[in-house]
């Protein structure tokens, strides 16, 4: 079950074809796109960085869990690294299965776990020239009395 990082644009069509299987009656995919705003700030571009050695291992564990838990036939996930422009695909998850329910549930499981568990960091570059590491800057402020309250997990 392949999980991989890539520095090139993600080709969703190629990934979709790689999951085709005559035993499958359904396929579900999720694409995460670079959005032009976050928490009220206009975003110009993004930069993703990963601890790849650990990220690949943990990514493969997540895919194995989804296979075992939901009984899908095939599953794949790719995460982009480096500089991305608004509208580009940051992450792609797909699953094919005998029936639609397993495919939907497996894809949802993988994207949720990827967001919480993989050592990947996102730096946003804003239209006004500022930049910041998402989830890191404000919670690191010396006067942050309740760091967890400011932690976004969506």
């Amino acid at each position: 079950m392949p999980f991989r990082f890539t520095r090139s644009p993600i080709d969703g069509e190629r990934l979709r074809r790689s999951l085709a299987d005559p035993a499958c009656g359904g396929f579900a995919a999720f694409e995460g796109w670079v959005r032009d705003h976050n928490e009220g700030a206009a975003v110009r571009r993004l930069e993703y960085e990963a601890f790849e050695a650990l990220g690949v291992k943990e990514g493969e564990r997540i895919l194995a869990e989804a296979l075992a838990r939901f009984g899908v036939t095939r599953i794949a996930c790719e995460h982009r690294l480096g500089e991305l422009a608004v509208g580009e695909i940051a992450v792609w998850v797909g699953a094919s299965a005998a029936h639609r329910d397993e495919a939907f549930r497996a894809a949802r499981y993988v994207i949720d776990e990827v967001k919480h568990r993989l050592p990947i960091w996102k730096k946003e570059h804003y239209l006004n020239g500022d930049s910041g590491w998402v989830n890191c800057e404000r919670c690191a402020a010396p006067d942050a009395a309740e760091p967890h309250a400011r932690h976004r997990h969506d």
Partner: protein
Amino acid sequence: MSRRALTVQYYALLREQAGRREEALESTAATAAELYAELRQRHAFTLPPELLRVAINSEFADWTSTLREGDTVVFIPPVAGG
């Protein structure tokens, strides 16, 4: 106290604050928690350890894990994949 040769790799905000991707050092820190305290002071890291995870030799580890000669340690800031 014995000193151990360790490698520390930095990512994201910690990489920027340390001004490097990696450093080789000798430390008397017995655990990952002690090592972060030492390095936080040296590099003025803003992230408190409660917000970090730690990996030793490319696997998630406990903060109380005992460090061994030659270990590679990575402190993992709050993640933001997807």
